[in-house]
């Protein structure tokens, strides 16, 4: 199968959906002429023109708010917030408007929009450009949350997100845009709420998503040498969350480690661990472990940044602890 970059898979997804449905359009800072800060909208402006690919001012709140307004009146906007760190400025629109309108209006409206953004550490760009704030999004009823780890997942999930009638927050990872992977040429979608078993195993279940999936896969390979067989599950969408796939795996392994690049306190991992406890406590043979970022603003200095976010060794250590 052909291999393409994560960022190009994203471009393809938007391109195909814009061709399929003229109501789909893109807006955000530097998405048109520049092609997106990480190149994830490259070529769309040249193909679809400035009516459907709109550079905006630095107005995060209005970008998200306007996407909502367009969505509830018949369009299907894809709004981009360049870094998830800037979503703070748009939180009111996202949390109080996008997430709540349908419910509060008695189910009589839909908000079919995608908010594409990007997060994560790894580039030494410090505390305002390196956060993983997905837990904030997962907390809010009414929002879906998608975090693809591979080009294949990125394309299939973005297409599903665009077609879905709910506000979807789609978080990419800045260290994955240059990742190459197999992506079929033909049209496909990946439904929301379907986890992917990235590696089968029998001794321990590791749940990891976005860039940490790759860190975890490396750890899993190394663990094989110590005769520990890890099953690696990528939920791909954190909301809706495919708990069944996780529980089925835990039933087999009896042990669970969850890996996330977000701050440890109130991390997505905390929620997943609690769900497993509520729905499968009897399946567990050992306490659940979290491997998360240290609770500290992501520092710039390479040595500090490395120490702040999870690495392969952290995952290996956690697995060995639960497998003792």
């Amino acid at each position: 199968m052909r291999e393409i970059l994560y960022k190009d898979a994203l471009v393809e997804a938007m391109w195909e959906e814009m061709e399929r449905d003229e109501k789909v359009f893109v807006m955000g800072e530097d998405v048109a002429i520049y092609g997106g800060a990480y190149g994830a909208t490259k070529g769309l402006y040249e193909q679809f023109g400035e009516e459907r690919v709109r550079d905006t001012a630095i107005s995060e709140s209005a970008i998200v708010g306007a996407a909502i307004g367009a969505a509830i009146t018949g369009m299907r906007p894809i709004a981009e917030i360049m870094y998830i760190d800037f979503i703070t400025q748009a939180m009111d629109q996202l949390v109080n408007q996008a997430a709540k309108m349908r419910y509060m209006f008695g189910g009589k409206t839909t908000v079919p929009m995608v908010l594409r953004t990007e997060g994560g550490a790894g580039r030494c760009i410090a505390a305002h450009h390196s956060q993983s704030l997905e837990a904030w999004i997962m907390h809010v009823p009414g929002l879906y949350l998608v975090m693809p780890s591979t080009p294949y997942d990125a394309k299939g999930l973005l297409k599903a997100s665009i077609r879905d009638d709910n506000p979807v927050v789609f978080i990419e990872h800045k260290m994955l845009y240059g990742l190459k992977g197999e992506v079929p040429e033909d049209d496909y979608i990946i439904p929301l709420g379907v986890a992917d078993i990235k590696k089968e195993g029998s001794d321990v279940t590791i749940v990891a998503y976005s860039r940490q999936l790759h860190v975890t896969m490396e750890a899993a390979t190394e663990l094989e040498k110590d005769n520990i067989s890890a099953e690696v599950i990528d939920p791909r969408t954190l909301k809706p969350l495919d708990l069944d796939t996780i529980l089925t795996s835990v039933k087999k392994t009896g042990k669970l480690v969850i890996v996330s690049e977000g701050y440890k306190t109130c991390n997505v991992a905390s929620e997943i661990a609690m769900l497993v406890m509520e729905h499968g406590f009897d399946l567990l043979d050992a306490p659940v472990k979290r491997v998360c970022a240290v609770d500290v603003p992501v520092p710039m200095s390479p040595v500090l940044e490395d120490a702040a976010i999870p690495n392969k060794q952290n995952v290996i250590n956690a697995v060995k602890e639960v497998c003792q």
Binding site: I33, I58, C124, A126, H129, V296, M300, S301, V303, A307
Partner: protein, 332 residues
């Protein structure tokens, strides 16, 4: 020129330091000695140097993501800045902040920020504090043309006007916010027009002419310090490098770049000084050489400095609290 020769020389020297510092940063980025991002100030030197020389040493400034020039102009030191950009323990922020978070609070530089426009309300708050503490300081609030399209910009101007606060809003209009030209994303082309809605008087100056900037900011500061409330100064300027290292600059033309290169604030000011027989070309060369040496020493200092100790990763997240206020054993 009302300034002494000594003052004029110091302005030239400072602008040269900023330019050479930024060129060095560009080089160190390419050599991967500086990791991460840096938004360079080259081209805009006259704004920071003119503005910071129009205020008192105890006045405050708030900076932006393009903050190296502000930091140096407000008295920041080259070695500590370079070390910070390299993420070293000897940097202004112990290597935690890097380019986008540089601050030198001892010099009244309340800090840079990675979030566009997020320091505009902070400047208003500092001005409120000045007013409440009755210290007669002023706050120079730097921000870009792009920032003035952000919601909190408008909230901040309104608040400053309503409370009659001693803040000078200094808009560095370099025609672009990243790749988006102001004429594609702002409804007005003189950002100063935005002040009208809040009843804040404004002035526009040539941001490539240091004496023009200085004079304009002096007038503005006088008003703010005198208790007549906020004022808005727009400086028309241009950034010479791309927005960041990876920017191909496809959104602007080579002709436009050349036109602004010809207006180089350092070249212009050097010429003014030689035309007025204040300095000879030879003396100017010497000043540049000294600045070059200082930048090289800063580079050396930064490279030879150690990285922070990883054991300090969690230091300074919270200020210390006395035991009657805090159970030190509680998880935080």
């Amino acid at each position: 020129m009302k300034e002494s020769k000594e003052e004029l020389v110091s302005y030239l020297r400072k602008m040269m330091e900023i330019r050479l510092f930024e060129e060095k940063v560009m080089e160190l980025l390419a050599r991967n000695i500086i990791k991460g991002a840096s938004h360079l100030y080259a081209g805009e030197e006259a704004v920071a140097v003119g503005a910071c020389n129009a205020i008192r040493e105890d006045d405050y400034i708030t900076s932006t993501h393009r903050g190296h020039g502000h930091c140096l102009a407000k008295g920041g030191k080259l070695p500590e800045m370079m070390a910070e950009l390299c993420g070293k323990a000897t940097g202004y922020c112990k290597g935690r902040g890097g380019s986008m978070h540089i601050a030198d609070v001892t010099k009244g530089n309340l800090g840079a920020t990675g979030i566009v426009c997020s320091n505009v309300p902070v400047a208003v708050g500092a001005a409120l504090s000045v007013k409440m503490r009755k210290t007669e300081q002023v706050v120079l609030c730097f921000f870009g043309d792009g920032a003035s399209n952000n919601g909190v910009f408008h909230e901040s101007l309104n608040m400053a006007a309503v409370w009659n606060l001693p803040v000078v809003f200094v808009c560095e209009n370099n025609l672009y916010g990243m790749s988006v030209a102001a004429n594609r994303c702002s409804a007005v082309q003189d950002m100063a027009d935005k002040a009208k809605a809040y009843n804040i008087p404004s002035m526009i100056c040539d941001g490539m002419d240091i004496l023009n900037v200085k004079e304009t900011i002096e007038k503005a500061t006088e008003r703010a310090r005198g208790g007549d409330g906020p004022i808005f100064v727009e400086c028309k300027t241009y950034r010479y490098f791309g927005h960041s290292r990876s920017d191909p600059r496809a959104y602007r033309t080579k002709e436009e770049e050349k036109e602004w290169r010809d207006k180089c604030p350092i070249k212009q000011f050097s010429k003014k000084l030689t035309d007025n027989k204040i300095l000879t070309e030879k003396e100017i060369d010497q000043i540049e050489k000294q600045a070059e040496e200082d930048v090289e020493n800063a580079e050396k200092f930064a490279i030879e400095s150690p990285y922070p100790d990883v054991k300090e990763l969690k230091d300074d997240i919270y200020a210390p609290s006395p035991s009657e206020l805090l159970n030190g054993g509680a998880i935080r």
